[in-house]
């Protein structure tokens, strides 16, 4: 492996890490603002103009807060769990092309860390490993609410992994590749080429599953404040809790990218406009995460399982069968 490639990759990784850590913070700001406006409140207004510096204030608080490791927890696992959440979220980003390739100072940059030929499988796999964050954190916390949350987390992740996998199978069959860049090329012809038109069912299934994967309302059962406090995060404080948080928000951004790339044409033909389009789509998906949080109540765990196994999975299988028949 040549040095230039190595340096380039490291730079890309650092840039992605920095940007998405910062975005996670700004994401919380937007979440609070959007939720506030939808509920006829103002949200943060006091720190900085329009409360913008609230993010910085929260960051300072998280970093300087005492790192409490309670009695009776399984120390090592307790400490490593938030790292798993954050790390897997960012690892998944490795196979996501964030922008079309562009030329910077005469050097062609591909804004993807590794264009591996099993991109989607890799992303889904790593996001699946993200389950271990809540699971281990909850089980090691010596707290019944955390334990409940861990159990719920395991059930939800494993169930909805099935939906994600099955729903994405049909588009994969159409494209014939697992690389997200190939997906993008497949839809490069314009809006009419978007997979969402030929696979609307798969799109909606994947979208629903994305809510479960990222643990957002209406499937916010693993940290359902009014039932089990903060679930797996109850015993965490300071930056360890912050890592869970960054992981959750990074996941939201990444899954938005994946959805936009697979179903909504990604960055299209790779022009500047296409890149803007991709960002707009991601912004919409992110906004939708916040939007549903303001509008919809949480479902019960049994309803969630019911929805997964009795409704979504049969639909996903039928969708695959129909896609197969049509393609034959």
């Amino acid at each position: 492996m040549e040095t230039a490639y190595l340096i380039e990759t490291v730079i890309k990784i650092v840039v992605i890490l920095l940007i998405f850590s910062a975005l996670a913070g700004i994401g919380t700001y937007f979440e609070r603002k959007v939720l506030a406006f939808m509920q006829r409140r103002l949200g943060p207004v006091n720190v900085g103009p329009f409360g913008l510096l609230q993010v910085a204030a929260d960051g300072i608080k998280l970093f300087t807060k005492e790192d409490i490791v309670p009695k009776n927890v399984v120390g090592r696992i307790f400490k490593i769990a938030p790292v798993i959440t954050a790390a897997t979220a960012f690892m998944a980003a490795a196979a996501i092309p964030f922008l079309p390739s562009f030329t910077l100072f005469g050097y062609e940059v591909h804004p993807i860390v590794a264009d591996i030929n099993i991109g989607i499988l890799y992303i889904l796999g790593v996001m699946g490993i993200g389950l271990y964050g809540p699971l281990l954190g909850g089980m090691a916390s010596a707290n019944k609410f955390s334990l409940l949350s861990a159990a719920r987390g395991a059930a939800i992740f494993i169930s909805y992994e099935v939906i994600t996998g099955l729903s994405i199978l049909a588009p994969i069959m159409m494209v014939g590749s697992l690389s997200l860049i190939d997906f993008n090329e497949y839809q490069a012809g314009g809006i009419t080429d978007w997979i969402v038109w030929s696979q609307p069912v798969a799109f909606i299934l994947f979208w629903i599953a994305a809510f479960a994967e990222t643990g957002r309302t209406p499937f916010h059962l693993i940290a359902n404040d009014h039932e089990i406090i903060d679930g797996f995060g109850t015993e965490y404080s300071g930056m360890r809790w912050g890592l869970f948080f960054i992981g959750e928000y990074a996941n939201m951004f990444f899954i938005s990218f994946v959805m936009a790339l697979i179903f909504l044409g990604g960055y299209g033909d790779g022009s500047f406009l296409g890149a803007l389009g991709l960002l707009a789509k991601v912004a919409f998906f992110f906004f939708f995460f916040l939007w549903t949080r303001a509008a919809w109540p949480d479902v019960r765990p049994d309803q969630l399982m019911w929805l997964c196994w009795k409704v979504l999975m049969p639909i996903a299988v039928i969708n695959i069968v129909i896609t197969g028949i049509v393609m034959m």
Binding site: F37, M38, Q39, R40, R41, L42, V45, A295, V311
Partner: protein
């Protein structure tokens, strides 16, 4: 609502008869067989109620009609009957203190937080020497203001209190309307319990002589 309607409500508590706005919730029987349940799922899935919810919150966001009061800068107006930290009033005619040291407030206080001490002054009038209210114990029930025969002790509107200890005493001098305020004629009468109600003159009946 109109006045007659309100009065009607007092007489007839059976709301369904007066107000046609009330109606029984229509609860359809729950499906028991599989097919019925399946139909219910379909109906619930495709009725689009989720989108109604989305629209409602989006509409509120676009309207941007927030109701937040930025508290330290903005404050809600409070009613004149609000029961916050006590005040001691002065007489309009002579600017002297209204309190006659009768001790009724101390007697009635249900949390026992008023302490009053009096002595006779040189004109053989009772004079208040000590008067304190332990605000840490006070539950702001308003009994003292209600019982006071002179409308001397009343409640004020000062509700932003902080103290470095639980037993926070407020003294007579702190509660008394300052003289300059009195001279400027800006003392506010309390309208709550025990205060003179409007049109009291017309309502008052003469006490019969034989009483």
């Amino acid at each position: 609502m109109h006045n007659e309607q309100i009065e009607e409500h007092f007489k007839n508590r059976n709301v369904t008869e007066i107000d046609s706005n009330y109606y029984m919730v229509d609860i359809a029987p729950y499906p028991t067989d599989g097919w019925g349940k399946f139909k219910r799922v379909l109906k619930r899935s495709f009725r689009g109620e989720l989108f109604v919810g989305l629209w409602v919150v989006l509409r509120e966001m676009i309207k941007f009609d927030t109701h937040t009061i930025k508290y330290p800068e903005e404050k809600m107006p409070i009613g004149p009957r609000y029961r916050a930290v006590h005040e001691m009033k002065r007489l309009w005619e002579s600017d002297t203190e209204r309190c006659i040291g009768c001790g009724l407030c101390e007697k009635i206080c249900i949390s026992n937080c008023i302490r009053i001490d009096t002595k006779l002054d040189e004109n053989s009038r009772k004079e208040v020497t000590e008067y304190s209210i332990n605000l840490g114990r006070c539950i702001f029930c308003g009994y003292c203001a209600e019982v006071c025969p002179e409308l001397a002790i009343t409640h004020g509107g000062e509700y932003e209190n902080a103290s470095d200890q639980r037993e926070h005493y407020i003294m007579y001098q702190d509660m008394l309307t300052p003289l300059d305020k009195m001279k400027a004629g800006t003392q506010l009468e309390f309208e709550g319990f025990g205060a003179v109600t409007p049109h009291e003159d017309e309502r008052v009946k003469k006490t019969p002589l034989a009483y």
